[in-house]
Symmetry: C2
Subunit: 329 residues, 2 copies
Protein backbone atom coordinates (compact mmCIF):
# COMPACT_ATOMS: atom_id res chain seq x y z
CA UNK A 1 0.00 0.00 0.00
CA UNK A 2 1.24 3.44 -0.87
CA UNK A 3 1.65 6.02 1.86
CA UNK A 4 -1.12 8.61 2.05
CA UNK A 5 -0.63 11.91 0.21
CA UNK A 6 -3.42 13.64 2.14
CA UNK A 7 -4.02 13.84 5.89
CA UNK A 8 -7.80 13.70 5.86
CA UNK A 9 -10.71 13.42 3.45
CA UNK A 10 -14.18 14.10 4.81
CA UNK A 11 -17.65 13.21 3.60
CA UNK A 12 -20.41 15.49 4.81
CA UNK A 13 -23.17 17.96 4.09
CA UNK A 14 -22.28 20.81 1.73
CA UNK A 15 -24.21 23.60 3.38
CA UNK A 16 -24.31 27.38 3.48
CA UNK A 17 -25.21 28.72 6.92
CA UNK A 18 -27.69 31.58 7.25
CA UNK A 19 -27.09 33.07 10.69
CA UNK A 20 -29.39 35.45 12.55
CA UNK A 21 -29.77 36.35 16.18
CA UNK A 22 -33.09 35.86 17.96
CA UNK A 23 -34.51 35.88 21.46
CA UNK A 24 -35.79 32.91 23.46
CA UNK A 25 -39.41 33.85 22.69
CA UNK A 26 -38.76 33.39 18.96
CA UNK A 27 -37.56 29.80 19.52
CA UNK A 28 -40.59 29.08 21.70
CA UNK A 29 -43.02 30.59 19.20
CA UNK A 30 -41.53 28.39 16.48
CA UNK A 31 -41.27 25.34 18.76
CA UNK A 32 -37.57 24.96 18.16
CA UNK A 33 -35.73 23.19 21.00
CA UNK A 34 -32.74 25.36 21.81
CA UNK A 35 -29.39 23.82 20.93
CA UNK A 36 -30.88 21.17 18.64
CA UNK A 37 -30.65 20.49 14.92
CA UNK A 38 -33.77 19.70 12.95
CA UNK A 39 -34.26 18.96 9.29
CA UNK A 40 -36.77 21.20 7.54
CA UNK A 41 -38.71 20.53 4.38
CA UNK A 42 -38.26 23.31 1.79
CA UNK A 43 -41.62 24.96 2.59
CA UNK A 44 -40.98 24.95 6.34
CA UNK A 45 -37.53 26.42 5.71
CA UNK A 46 -39.07 29.20 3.61
CA UNK A 47 -41.54 29.98 6.39
CA UNK A 48 -38.87 30.07 9.09
CA UNK A 49 -36.56 32.16 6.89
CA UNK A 50 -39.34 34.68 6.29
CA UNK A 51 -39.76 35.09 10.04
CA UNK A 52 -36.04 35.26 10.86
CA UNK A 53 -34.10 38.46 11.26
CA UNK A 54 -31.59 39.89 8.85
CA UNK A 55 -28.83 37.32 8.38
CA UNK A 56 -25.23 36.79 7.40
CA UNK A 57 -24.21 33.87 5.22
CA UNK A 58 -21.07 31.78 5.60
CA UNK A 59 -20.15 28.37 4.29
CA UNK A 60 -20.88 25.64 6.79
CA UNK A 61 -21.57 21.92 7.03
CA UNK A 62 -20.16 20.04 9.99
CA UNK A 63 -17.43 17.96 8.35
CA UNK A 64 -16.75 20.76 5.87
CA UNK A 65 -16.10 23.10 8.81
CA UNK A 66 -13.73 20.49 10.20
CA UNK A 67 -11.80 20.30 6.92
CA UNK A 68 -11.68 24.12 6.79
CA UNK A 69 -10.12 24.01 10.25
CA UNK A 70 -7.64 21.26 9.33
CA UNK A 71 -6.49 23.27 6.31
CA UNK A 72 -6.28 26.45 8.40
CA UNK A 73 -3.94 24.63 10.81
CA UNK A 74 -1.72 23.39 8.00
CA UNK A 75 -3.17 19.94 7.40
CA UNK A 76 -3.76 18.54 3.91
CA UNK A 77 -7.51 18.11 3.62
CA UNK A 78 -10.14 17.20 1.05
CA UNK A 79 -13.92 17.22 1.14
CA UNK A 80 -16.60 15.20 -0.62
CA UNK A 81 -20.13 16.63 -0.54
CA UNK A 82 -22.97 17.42 -2.87
CA UNK A 83 -23.90 20.93 -4.01
CA UNK A 84 -26.24 22.11 -6.76
CA UNK A 85 -25.18 24.30 -9.67
CA UNK A 86 -26.42 27.51 -8.06
CA UNK A 87 -25.11 30.64 -6.32
CA UNK A 88 -24.91 29.07 -2.86
CA UNK A 89 -23.12 26.05 -4.32
CA UNK A 90 -20.55 28.34 -5.90
CA UNK A 91 -20.09 30.16 -2.58
CA UNK A 92 -19.53 26.83 -0.80
CA UNK A 93 -16.99 25.65 -3.39
CA UNK A 94 -15.18 29.00 -3.43
CA UNK A 95 -14.73 29.02 0.33
CA UNK A 96 -13.39 25.45 0.33
CA UNK A 97 -10.88 26.23 -2.40
CA UNK A 98 -9.92 29.56 -0.84
CA UNK A 99 -9.01 27.70 2.36
CA UNK A 100 -6.93 25.19 0.46
CA UNK A 101 -9.32 22.26 0.88
CA UNK A 102 -9.45 19.98 -2.15
CA UNK A 103 -13.11 19.83 -3.18
CA UNK A 104 -14.00 18.37 -6.53
CA UNK A 105 -17.43 16.74 -6.17
CA UNK A 106 -19.22 18.00 -9.30
CA UNK A 107 -22.42 19.98 -8.59
CA UNK A 108 -25.69 18.33 -9.56
CA UNK A 109 -27.22 19.61 -12.78
CA UNK A 110 -30.58 20.99 -13.86
CA UNK A 111 -33.58 19.92 -11.81
CA UNK A 112 -31.65 19.09 -8.64
CA UNK A 113 -32.69 20.47 -5.26
CA UNK A 114 -30.82 23.69 -4.40
CA UNK A 115 -27.61 23.69 -2.40
CA UNK A 116 -28.40 22.98 1.25
CA UNK A 117 -28.88 25.76 3.75
CA UNK A 118 -28.86 25.77 7.51
CA UNK A 119 -30.92 28.48 9.18
CA UNK A 120 -29.03 29.10 12.41
CA UNK A 121 -30.64 31.06 15.22
CA UNK A 122 -28.27 32.35 17.86
CA UNK A 123 -29.76 33.36 21.22
CA UNK A 124 -28.13 35.93 23.54
CA UNK A 125 -26.54 33.06 25.52
CA UNK A 126 -24.57 32.16 22.32
CA UNK A 127 -26.44 28.86 21.88
CA UNK A 128 -27.19 27.93 18.30
CA UNK A 129 -30.36 26.22 17.12
CA UNK A 130 -29.94 24.75 13.66
CA UNK A 131 -32.64 24.23 11.07
CA UNK A 132 -31.28 22.43 8.06
CA UNK A 133 -32.83 22.33 4.64
CA UNK A 134 -30.37 19.78 3.24
CA UNK A 135 -31.27 20.17 -0.44
CA UNK A 136 -28.65 18.75 -2.76
CA UNK A 137 -26.41 17.58 0.07
CA UNK A 138 -28.65 14.57 0.73
CA UNK A 139 -28.41 13.55 -2.94
CA UNK A 140 -24.86 12.29 -2.52
CA UNK A 141 -24.62 8.76 -3.88
CA UNK A 142 -21.90 6.11 -3.72
CA UNK A 143 -21.18 6.41 -7.44
CA UNK A 144 -20.14 10.05 -6.94
CA UNK A 145 -17.29 9.12 -4.57
CA UNK A 146 -13.77 9.74 -5.78
CA UNK A 147 -12.27 6.41 -4.72
CA UNK A 148 -8.69 7.38 -5.48
CA UNK A 149 -9.12 10.45 -3.31
CA UNK A 150 -10.40 8.32 -0.42
CA UNK A 151 -7.46 5.94 -0.74
CA UNK A 152 -5.03 8.87 -0.77
CA UNK A 153 -5.84 10.11 2.74
CA UNK A 154 -4.53 8.75 6.05
CA UNK A 155 -7.95 9.27 7.65
CA UNK A 156 -11.45 9.41 6.25
CA UNK A 157 -13.76 11.53 8.40
CA UNK A 158 -17.51 10.90 8.26
CA UNK A 159 -20.26 13.22 9.46
CA UNK A 160 -23.13 11.67 11.41
CA UNK A 161 -25.68 14.15 10.06
CA UNK A 162 -25.23 12.55 6.67
CA UNK A 163 -25.74 9.08 8.13
CA UNK A 164 -29.48 9.76 8.28
CA UNK A 165 -30.58 9.75 4.64
CA UNK A 166 -30.28 6.41 2.86
CA UNK A 167 -28.17 7.23 -0.20
CA UNK A 168 -25.45 9.23 1.55
CA UNK A 169 -25.30 6.53 4.24
CA UNK A 170 -24.72 3.92 1.56
CA UNK A 171 -22.02 6.17 0.10
CA UNK A 172 -20.37 6.38 3.51
CA UNK A 173 -20.48 2.62 4.01
CA UNK A 174 -18.83 2.22 0.63
CA UNK A 175 -16.20 4.81 1.59
CA UNK A 176 -15.44 2.92 4.81
CA UNK A 177 -14.84 -0.25 2.79
CA UNK A 178 -12.55 1.58 0.35
CA UNK A 179 -10.59 3.23 3.15
CA UNK A 180 -10.11 0.08 5.17
CA UNK A 181 -9.11 -1.92 2.09
CA UNK A 182 -6.40 0.70 1.53
CA UNK A 183 -5.24 0.42 5.14
CA UNK A 184 -6.60 3.84 6.14
CA UNK A 185 -8.33 4.84 9.37
CA UNK A 186 -12.01 5.74 9.67
CA UNK A 187 -13.10 8.58 11.94
CA UNK A 188 -16.76 9.26 12.61
CA UNK A 189 -18.48 12.14 14.36
CA UNK A 190 -21.86 11.30 15.86
CA UNK A 191 -23.56 14.66 15.18
CA UNK A 192 -26.53 13.47 17.28
CA UNK A 193 -28.40 12.32 14.19
CA UNK A 194 -27.18 8.72 14.25
CA UNK A 195 -28.78 8.46 17.67
CA UNK A 196 -32.24 8.96 16.24
CA UNK A 197 -34.35 5.82 16.40
CA UNK A 198 -34.01 3.69 13.29
CA UNK A 199 -30.53 4.89 12.38
CA UNK A 200 -28.82 3.83 15.54
CA UNK A 201 -28.91 0.09 14.84
CA UNK A 202 -27.00 0.29 11.56
CA UNK A 203 -24.44 2.50 13.23
CA UNK A 204 -24.08 0.16 16.19
CA UNK A 205 -23.45 -2.69 13.72
CA UNK A 206 -20.72 -0.65 12.04
CA UNK A 207 -19.06 0.06 15.38
CA UNK A 208 -19.40 -3.56 16.53
CA UNK A 209 -17.82 -4.83 13.31
CA UNK A 210 -14.78 -2.59 13.78
CA UNK A 211 -15.83 -0.06 11.14
CA UNK A 212 -14.90 2.96 13.25
CA UNK A 213 -11.31 3.57 14.34
CA UNK A 214 -11.87 6.98 15.90
CA UNK A 215 -15.18 8.17 17.28
CA UNK A 216 -15.98 11.82 18.09
CA UNK A 217 -19.03 12.50 20.21
CA UNK A 218 -20.31 14.90 22.80
CA UNK A 219 -21.48 13.75 26.19
CA UNK A 220 -25.19 13.76 25.29
CA UNK A 221 -24.53 11.67 22.21
CA UNK A 222 -22.57 9.15 24.24
CA UNK A 223 -25.49 8.85 26.65
CA UNK A 224 -27.97 8.43 23.80
CA UNK A 225 -25.86 5.90 21.93
CA UNK A 226 -25.18 3.71 24.98
CA UNK A 227 -28.49 4.30 26.73
CA UNK A 228 -26.49 4.97 29.92
CA UNK A 229 -26.65 8.03 32.14
CA UNK A 230 -23.31 7.65 33.91
CA UNK A 231 -20.42 9.16 31.96
CA UNK A 232 -17.69 6.76 33.07
CA UNK A 233 -19.68 3.62 32.39
CA UNK A 234 -20.85 4.98 29.02
CA UNK A 235 -17.21 5.62 28.14
CA UNK A 236 -16.22 2.17 29.31
CA UNK A 237 -18.88 0.56 27.12
CA UNK A 238 -17.89 2.46 24.00
CA UNK A 239 -14.15 2.38 24.43
CA UNK A 240 -13.97 -1.38 24.03
CA UNK A 241 -15.54 -1.00 20.59
CA UNK A 242 -13.51 1.89 19.15
CA UNK A 243 -9.73 2.13 19.38
CA UNK A 244 -9.87 5.91 19.92
CA UNK A 245 -12.78 7.66 21.59
CA UNK A 246 -12.97 11.45 21.93
CA UNK A 247 -15.79 13.05 23.90
CA UNK A 248 -16.37 16.80 24.21
CA UNK A 249 -18.22 18.12 27.25
CA UNK A 250 -18.72 21.83 26.51
CA UNK A 251 -17.35 24.03 29.29
CA UNK A 252 -16.43 20.87 31.23
CA UNK A 253 -13.64 20.13 28.74
CA UNK A 254 -12.96 16.95 26.82
CA UNK A 255 -11.87 13.35 27.31
CA UNK A 256 -9.99 10.91 25.10
CA UNK A 257 -9.51 7.17 25.54
CA UNK A 258 -6.97 5.24 23.52
CA UNK A 259 -5.01 2.06 24.17
CA UNK A 260 -6.26 1.92 27.74
CA UNK A 261 -5.11 5.48 28.39
CA UNK A 262 -7.64 8.13 29.45
CA UNK A 263 -6.89 11.84 29.31
CA UNK A 264 -9.22 14.58 30.54
CA UNK A 265 -8.63 18.24 29.79
CA UNK A 266 -10.57 21.35 30.86
CA UNK A 267 -12.07 23.70 28.25
CA UNK A 268 -9.63 26.20 26.74
CA UNK A 269 -9.81 29.74 28.17
CA UNK A 270 -12.40 31.85 26.36
CA UNK A 271 -11.89 35.47 25.40
CA UNK A 272 -15.55 35.80 24.51
CA UNK A 273 -18.54 33.64 23.68
CA UNK A 274 -20.70 34.76 20.75
CA UNK A 275 -21.98 31.75 18.82
CA UNK A 276 -21.32 28.11 19.69
CA UNK A 277 -21.91 26.93 16.11
CA UNK A 278 -18.98 24.83 14.95
CA UNK A 279 -17.46 24.14 18.38
CA UNK A 280 -17.48 20.36 17.90
CA UNK A 281 -16.42 20.68 14.27
CA UNK A 282 -13.36 22.72 15.11
CA UNK A 283 -12.52 20.55 18.10
CA UNK A 284 -12.31 17.60 15.71
CA UNK A 285 -10.23 19.71 13.31
CA UNK A 286 -7.66 20.52 15.97
CA UNK A 287 -7.55 16.97 17.30
CA UNK A 288 -7.08 15.45 13.85
CA UNK A 289 -4.50 17.96 12.68
CA UNK A 290 -2.33 17.44 15.75
CA UNK A 291 -2.78 13.67 15.33
CA UNK A 292 -1.71 13.71 11.69
CA UNK A 293 1.33 15.78 12.63
CA UNK A 294 2.35 13.13 15.17
CA UNK A 295 1.61 14.92 18.45
CA UNK A 296 0.53 12.91 21.51
CA UNK A 297 -3.04 12.40 22.69
CA UNK A 298 -2.89 15.22 25.22
CA UNK A 299 -1.71 17.68 22.59
CA UNK A 300 -4.38 16.42 20.20
CA UNK A 301 -7.04 17.24 22.79
CA UNK A 302 -5.56 20.65 23.56
CA UNK A 303 -5.32 21.58 19.91
CA UNK A 304 -8.99 20.70 19.54
CA UNK A 305 -9.89 22.81 22.55
CA UNK A 306 -8.00 25.85 21.26
CA UNK A 307 -9.58 25.63 17.80
CA UNK A 308 -13.05 25.26 19.34
CA UNK A 309 -12.50 28.28 21.59
CA UNK A 310 -11.62 30.42 18.57
CA UNK A 311 -14.70 29.48 16.55
CA UNK A 312 -17.18 30.23 19.33
CA UNK A 313 -15.75 33.72 19.85
CA UNK A 314 -17.49 35.01 16.67
CA UNK A 315 -20.49 34.32 14.42
CA UNK A 316 -20.01 31.51 11.91
CA UNK A 317 -18.51 28.04 12.07
CA UNK A 318 -15.33 28.70 10.12
CA UNK A 319 -12.16 30.00 11.80
CA UNK A 320 -11.47 33.74 11.50
CA UNK A 321 -8.26 34.12 13.47
CA UNK A 322 -4.91 32.73 12.34
CA UNK A 323 -5.48 29.21 13.71
CA UNK A 324 -2.09 27.97 12.60
CA UNK A 325 -0.41 30.54 14.80
CA UNK A 326 -2.90 29.97 17.62
CA UNK A 327 -2.30 26.22 17.90
CA UNK A 328 1.43 26.46 17.11
CA UNK A 329 1.86 22.84 16.06
CA UNK B 1 -50.74 67.60 -1.11
CA UNK B 2 -51.15 64.80 1.41
CA UNK B 3 -48.67 64.50 4.25
CA UNK B 4 -46.05 61.79 3.79
CA UNK B 5 -46.72 58.35 5.27
CA UNK B 6 -43.06 57.28 5.00
CA UNK B 7 -39.92 59.05 6.17
CA UNK B 8 -37.60 58.05 3.35
CA UNK B 9 -37.61 56.07 0.14
CA UNK B 10 -34.24 55.30 -1.44
CA UNK B 11 -33.21 54.31 -4.93
CA UNK B 12 -29.93 52.42 -5.15
CA UNK B 13 -28.01 49.30 -6.04
CA UNK B 14 -29.45 46.02 -4.74
CA UNK B 15 -26.24 44.22 -3.89
CA UNK B 16 -24.99 41.32 -1.79
CA UNK B 17 -21.56 41.96 -0.30
CA UNK B 18 -18.92 39.22 -0.36
CA UNK B 19 -16.39 40.18 2.29
CA UNK B 20 -12.91 38.73 2.71
CA UNK B 21 -9.80 39.97 4.40
CA UNK B 22 -6.57 40.39 2.44
CA UNK B 23 -3.15 41.93 2.82
CA UNK B 24 -1.77 44.98 1.02
CA UNK B 25 0.21 42.77 -1.37
CA UNK B 26 -3.02 41.22 -2.66
CA UNK B 27 -4.41 44.64 -3.59
CA UNK B 28 -1.15 45.55 -5.29
CA UNK B 29 -0.99 42.28 -7.21
CA UNK B 30 -4.52 42.87 -8.47
CA UNK B 31 -3.92 46.59 -9.09
CA UNK B 32 -6.80 47.63 -6.86
CA UNK B 33 -6.41 51.12 -5.39
CA UNK B 34 -7.08 50.77 -1.67
CA UNK B 35 -10.26 52.43 -0.49
CA UNK B 36 -11.74 52.75 -3.98
CA UNK B 37 -14.79 51.26 -5.69
CA UNK B 38 -14.49 49.85 -9.16
CA UNK B 39 -17.02 48.21 -11.41
CA UNK B 40 -16.05 44.76 -12.66
CA UNK B 41 -17.32 42.94 -15.72
CA UNK B 42 -18.66 39.45 -14.85
CA UNK B 43 -15.49 37.66 -16.04
CA UNK B 44 -13.20 39.96 -14.08
CA UNK B 45 -15.38 39.49 -11.00
CA UNK B 46 -15.11 35.69 -11.38
CA UNK B 47 -11.33 35.95 -11.61
CA UNK B 48 -11.04 38.18 -8.56
CA UNK B 49 -13.45 35.99 -6.59
CA UNK B 50 -11.42 32.89 -7.42
CA UNK B 51 -8.33 34.58 -6.00
CA UNK B 52 -10.02 35.99 -2.88
CA UNK B 53 -10.02 34.32 0.49
CA UNK B 54 -12.91 32.57 2.16
CA UNK B 55 -15.72 35.10 2.51
CA UNK B 56 -18.84 35.97 4.44
CA UNK B 57 -21.90 37.31 2.63
CA UNK B 58 -24.20 40.07 3.89
CA UNK B 59 -26.73 42.22 2.11
CA UNK B 60 -25.27 45.54 1.02
CA UNK B 61 -25.75 48.36 -1.48
CA UNK B 62 -25.02 51.89 -0.33
CA UNK B 63 -28.54 53.37 -0.19
CA UNK B 64 -29.94 49.99 0.89
CA UNK B 65 -27.54 50.03 3.85
CA UNK B 66 -28.77 53.52 4.65
CA UNK B 67 -32.41 52.39 4.63
CA UNK B 68 -31.48 49.39 6.82
CA UNK B 69 -29.97 51.88 9.26
CA UNK B 70 -32.99 54.20 9.14
CA UNK B 71 -35.33 51.29 9.90
CA UNK B 72 -33.03 50.06 12.68
CA UNK B 73 -33.28 53.51 14.30
CA UNK B 74 -37.05 53.54 14.10
CA UNK B 75 -37.59 55.45 10.84
CA UNK B 76 -40.15 54.39 8.23
CA UNK B 77 -38.12 53.46 5.15
CA UNK B 78 -38.60 51.95 1.72
CA UNK B 79 -36.16 50.90 -0.96
CA UNK B 80 -36.34 50.67 -4.75
CA UNK B 81 -33.65 48.60 -6.45
CA UNK B 82 -33.32 45.84 -8.98
CA UNK B 83 -32.54 42.22 -8.14
CA UNK B 84 -32.73 39.08 -10.26
CA UNK B 85 -34.86 36.06 -9.42
CA UNK B 86 -31.98 34.11 -7.85
CA UNK B 87 -30.63 33.05 -4.45
CA UNK B 88 -28.72 36.27 -3.80
CA UNK B 89 -31.78 38.32 -4.80
CA UNK B 90 -33.85 36.39 -2.28
CA UNK B 91 -31.23 37.00 0.41
CA UNK B 92 -31.25 40.73 -0.36
CA UNK B 93 -35.05 40.93 -0.21
CA UNK B 94 -35.24 38.85 2.96
CA UNK B 95 -32.80 41.08 4.80
CA UNK B 96 -34.67 44.23 3.76
CA UNK B 97 -38.00 42.82 4.91
CA UNK B 98 -36.51 41.41 8.13
CA UNK B 99 -35.32 44.91 9.00
CA UNK B 100 -38.73 46.40 8.33
CA UNK B 101 -37.76 48.19 5.11
CA UNK B 102 -40.53 48.19 2.52
CA UNK B 103 -39.04 46.66 -0.63
CA UNK B 104 -41.33 45.66 -3.46
CA UNK B 105 -39.39 46.12 -6.69
CA UNK B 106 -40.16 42.86 -8.53
CA UNK B 107 -37.07 40.81 -9.43
CA UNK B 108 -36.20 40.57 -13.12
CA UNK B 109 -37.19 37.32 -14.79
CA UNK B 110 -35.47 34.67 -16.88
CA UNK B 111 -32.42 35.80 -18.83
CA UNK B 112 -31.56 38.77 -16.64
CA UNK B 113 -28.07 39.30 -15.25
CA UNK B 114 -27.68 37.84 -11.74
CA UNK B 115 -28.26 39.91 -8.61
CA UNK B 116 -25.35 42.28 -8.12
CA UNK B 117 -22.40 41.40 -5.90
CA UNK B 118 -19.71 43.52 -4.38
CA UNK B 119 -16.41 41.77 -3.66
CA UNK B 120 -15.08 43.66 -0.66
CA UNK B 121 -11.48 43.26 0.40
CA UNK B 122 -10.68 44.45 3.90
CA UNK B 123 -7.03 45.12 4.75
CA UNK B 124 -5.63 44.92 8.30
CA UNK B 125 -6.04 48.71 8.63
CA UNK B 126 -9.84 48.17 8.26
CA UNK B 127 -9.95 49.94 4.88
CA UNK B 128 -12.33 48.42 2.37
CA UNK B 129 -11.70 48.14 -1.35
CA UNK B 130 -14.88 47.45 -3.26
CA UNK B 131 -15.22 45.62 -6.54
CA UNK B 132 -18.76 45.70 -7.79
CA UNK B 133 -20.30 43.41 -10.33
CA UNK B 134 -23.59 45.30 -10.56
CA UNK B 135 -25.57 42.67 -12.45
CA UNK B 136 -29.32 43.23 -12.30
CA UNK B 137 -29.02 46.38 -10.20
CA UNK B 138 -27.98 48.42 -13.26
CA UNK B 139 -31.08 47.22 -15.13
CA UNK B 140 -33.38 49.47 -13.11
CA UNK B 141 -35.54 51.52 -15.48
CA UNK B 142 -37.90 54.44 -14.92
CA UNK B 143 -40.95 52.33 -15.73
CA UNK B 144 -40.20 50.11 -12.74
CA UNK B 145 -40.53 52.98 -10.25
CA UNK B 146 -43.44 52.85 -7.86
CA UNK B 147 -44.59 56.45 -8.23
CA UNK B 148 -47.09 56.31 -5.38
CA UNK B 149 -44.35 55.03 -3.09
CA UNK B 150 -42.08 57.93 -4.06
CA UNK B 151 -44.85 60.45 -3.41
CA UNK B 152 -45.55 58.87 -0.02
CA UNK B 153 -42.12 59.65 1.50
CA UNK B 154 -40.96 62.93 3.00
CA UNK B 155 -37.51 62.45 1.48
CA UNK B 156 -36.29 60.55 -1.53
CA UNK B 157 -32.67 59.44 -1.16
CA UNK B 158 -30.61 58.75 -4.27
CA UNK B 159 -27.34 56.84 -4.46
CA UNK B 160 -24.60 58.31 -6.62
CA UNK B 161 -23.23 54.90 -7.60
CA UNK B 162 -26.43 54.35 -9.56
CA UNK B 163 -26.07 57.71 -11.29
CA UNK B 164 -23.40 56.18 -13.55
CA UNK B 165 -25.36 53.83 -15.81
CA UNK B 166 -27.80 55.49 -18.20
CA UNK B 167 -31.09 53.76 -17.42
CA UNK B 168 -30.96 53.97 -13.62
CA UNK B 169 -29.88 57.61 -13.96
CA UNK B 170 -32.96 58.31 -16.09
CA UNK B 171 -35.05 56.52 -13.45
CA UNK B 172 -33.55 58.76 -10.77
CA UNK B 173 -34.21 61.90 -12.78
CA UNK B 174 -37.82 60.80 -13.17
CA UNK B 175 -38.01 60.10 -9.41
CA UNK B 176 -36.72 63.60 -8.65
CA UNK B 177 -39.47 65.10 -10.81
CA UNK B 178 -42.14 62.95 -9.10
CA UNK B 179 -40.86 63.81 -5.62
CA UNK B 180 -40.63 67.54 -6.24
CA UNK B 181 -44.06 67.64 -7.88
CA UNK B 182 -45.40 66.09 -4.68
CA UNK B 183 -43.61 68.69 -2.55
CA UNK B 184 -41.05 66.21 -1.22
CA UNK B 185 -37.34 66.75 -0.61
CA UNK B 186 -34.54 65.15 -2.63
CA UNK B 187 -31.39 63.90 -0.90
CA UNK B 188 -28.42 62.69 -2.89
CA UNK B 189 -25.23 60.96 -1.83
CA UNK B 190 -22.27 61.47 -4.14
CA UNK B 191 -20.72 57.99 -3.74
CA UNK B 192 -17.69 59.25 -5.73
CA UNK B 193 -19.08 57.89 -8.98
CA UNK B 194 -20.82 61.07 -10.10
CA UNK B 195 -17.45 62.74 -9.99
CA UNK B 196 -16.17 60.57 -12.78
CA UNK B 197 -15.65 62.50 -16.00
CA UNK B 198 -18.71 62.45 -18.22
CA UNK B 199 -21.22 62.00 -15.42
CA UNK B 200 -20.31 65.10 -13.50
CA UNK B 201 -21.88 67.57 -15.96
CA UNK B 202 -25.37 66.10 -15.75
CA UNK B 203 -25.12 66.06 -12.02
CA UNK B 204 -23.89 69.66 -11.89
CA UNK B 205 -26.89 70.65 -14.02
CA UNK B 206 -29.23 68.92 -11.58
CA UNK B 207 -27.65 70.73 -8.64
CA UNK B 208 -27.66 74.07 -10.44
CA UNK B 209 -31.34 73.70 -11.31
CA UNK B 210 -32.27 73.11 -7.66
CA UNK B 211 -32.77 69.38 -8.06
CA UNK B 212 -30.95 68.47 -4.85
CA UNK B 213 -32.23 69.66 -1.47
CA UNK B 214 -29.77 67.74 0.67
CA UNK B 215 -26.35 66.63 -0.51
CA UNK B 216 -24.21 64.03 1.29
CA UNK B 217 -20.56 63.81 0.33
CA UNK B 218 -17.18 63.05 1.79
CA UNK B 219 -14.33 65.50 1.66
CA UNK B 220 -12.67 63.92 -1.39
CA UNK B 221 -15.89 63.97 -3.33
CA UNK B 222 -16.41 67.66 -2.51
CA UNK B 223 -12.91 68.40 -3.83
CA UNK B 224 -13.54 66.40 -6.99
CA UNK B 225 -16.94 67.91 -7.65
CA UNK B 226 -15.80 71.52 -7.17
CA UNK B 227 -12.29 71.11 -8.52
CA UNK B 228 -11.06 72.95 -5.43
CA UNK B 229 -8.46 71.80 -2.92
CA UNK B 230 -9.37 74.05 0.00
CA UNK B 231 -12.14 72.59 2.16
CA UNK B 232 -13.76 75.88 3.22
CA UNK B 233 -13.92 77.36 -0.25
CA UNK B 234 -15.23 74.08 -1.69
CA UNK B 235 -17.97 74.12 0.95
CA UNK B 236 -18.75 77.75 0.19
CA UNK B 237 -19.12 77.01 -3.51
CA UNK B 238 -21.45 74.05 -2.97
CA UNK B 239 -23.50 75.44 -0.14
CA UNK B 240 -25.00 78.18 -2.28
CA UNK B 241 -26.39 75.49 -4.59
CA UNK B 242 -27.85 73.03 -2.08
CA UNK B 243 -30.01 74.07 0.89
CA UNK B 244 -28.43 71.40 3.12
CA UNK B 245 -24.88 70.16 2.67
CA UNK B 246 -23.42 67.35 4.80
CA UNK B 247 -19.75 66.40 4.45
CA UNK B 248 -18.08 63.51 6.26
CA UNK B 249 -14.34 63.66 6.90
CA UNK B 250 -13.48 60.23 8.34
CA UNK B 251 -11.68 60.51 11.67
CA UNK B 252 -11.78 64.32 11.34
CA UNK B 253 -15.55 64.26 11.94
CA UNK B 254 -18.28 65.86 9.86
CA UNK B 255 -19.66 69.23 8.82
CA UNK B 256 -23.15 70.43 7.92
CA UNK B 257 -24.22 73.71 6.33
CA UNK B 258 -27.84 74.79 6.28
CA UNK B 259 -29.53 78.20 6.15
CA UNK B 260 -26.21 79.96 6.61
CA UNK B 261 -25.42 77.89 9.72
CA UNK B 262 -22.30 75.70 9.81
CA UNK B 263 -21.79 72.97 12.38
CA UNK B 264 -18.63 70.86 12.74
CA UNK B 265 -18.47 67.77 14.92
CA UNK B 266 -15.58 65.42 15.69
CA UNK B 267 -15.85 61.70 14.89
CA UNK B 268 -17.74 59.61 17.46
CA UNK B 269 -15.56 57.63 19.90
CA UNK B 270 -14.61 54.23 18.50
CA UNK B 271 -14.58 51.04 20.52
CA UNK B 272 -12.84 49.22 17.70
CA UNK B 273 -12.19 49.55 13.99
CA UNK B 274 -12.64 46.40 11.89
CA UNK B 275 -14.11 47.28 8.49
CA UNK B 276 -14.94 50.77 7.27
CA UNK B 277 -17.51 49.49 4.74
CA UNK B 278 -20.79 51.33 5.20
CA UNK B 279 -19.46 54.23 7.30
CA UNK B 280 -20.90 56.88 4.96
CA UNK B 281 -24.10 54.89 4.45
CA UNK B 282 -24.82 54.67 8.14
CA UNK B 283 -23.81 58.27 8.71
CA UNK B 284 -26.53 59.28 6.26
CA UNK B 285 -28.95 56.90 7.98
CA UNK B 286 -28.41 58.51 11.37
CA UNK B 287 -28.54 62.03 9.99
CA UNK B 288 -31.77 61.42 8.08
CA UNK B 289 -33.51 59.55 10.89
CA UNK B 290 -32.81 62.33 13.39
CA UNK B 291 -33.92 64.87 10.78
CA UNK B 292 -37.22 63.09 10.12
CA UNK B 293 -37.84 62.90 13.84
CA UNK B 294 -37.42 66.67 14.10
CA UNK B 295 -34.08 66.92 15.89
CA UNK B 296 -31.77 69.90 15.21
CA UNK B 297 -28.82 69.92 12.81
CA UNK B 298 -26.25 69.23 15.53
CA UNK B 299 -28.19 66.17 16.71
CA UNK B 300 -28.61 65.01 13.10
CA UNK B 301 -24.83 65.07 12.69
CA UNK B 302 -24.20 63.30 15.99
CA UNK B 303 -26.72 60.59 15.23
CA UNK B 304 -24.95 60.01 11.93
CA UNK B 305 -21.59 59.81 13.67
CA UNK B 306 -22.82 57.26 16.24
CA UNK B 307 -24.40 55.03 13.60
CA UNK B 308 -21.21 55.19 11.49
CA UNK B 309 -19.05 54.27 14.50
CA UNK B 310 -21.17 51.17 15.13
CA UNK B 311 -20.96 49.85 11.57
CA UNK B 312 -17.17 50.13 11.31
CA UNK B 313 -16.69 48.14 14.53
CA UNK B 314 -17.52 44.86 12.73
CA UNK B 315 -17.47 43.24 9.27
CA UNK B 316 -20.39 44.14 7.01
CA UNK B 317 -22.24 47.35 6.21
CA UNK B 318 -25.45 46.64 8.11
CA UNK B 319 -25.84 47.52 11.80
CA UNK B 320 -25.39 44.67 14.29
CA UNK B 321 -25.88 46.42 17.62
CA UNK B 322 -29.22 47.82 18.79
CA UNK B 323 -28.88 51.14 16.94
CA UNK B 324 -32.17 52.47 18.23
CA UNK B 325 -30.88 52.21 21.79
CA UNK B 326 -27.45 53.53 20.79
CA UNK B 327 -28.70 56.74 19.22
CA UNK B 328 -31.55 57.21 21.75
CA UNK B 329 -33.65 59.53 19.59
Amino acid sequence: MSSPSLDIVAIGDAIVDVIATCDEAFLEAHRLPKGSMQLLAPEAAERLYADMGSARETSGGSAANTMAGVAAMGGAAAFIGQTADDQLGKIFAHDMHALGVRFETPPLGEGSPPTGRCLILVTPDAQRTMNTSPGASHELTANRLDEALIRSAAIIYLEGYLWGPERPRAAMERAVAIAHAAGRKVAFTLSESVCIVGRKEGFARMIDSGGVDLLFANQDEVFQLTGRTDFDSALAELSVKVPTLVVTRGHAGATALENGERIDIPAAPLTKLVDTTGAGDLFAAGFLTARCKGFDLQRQLWTGAIAAAEVISHFGARPEADLKKLVAL
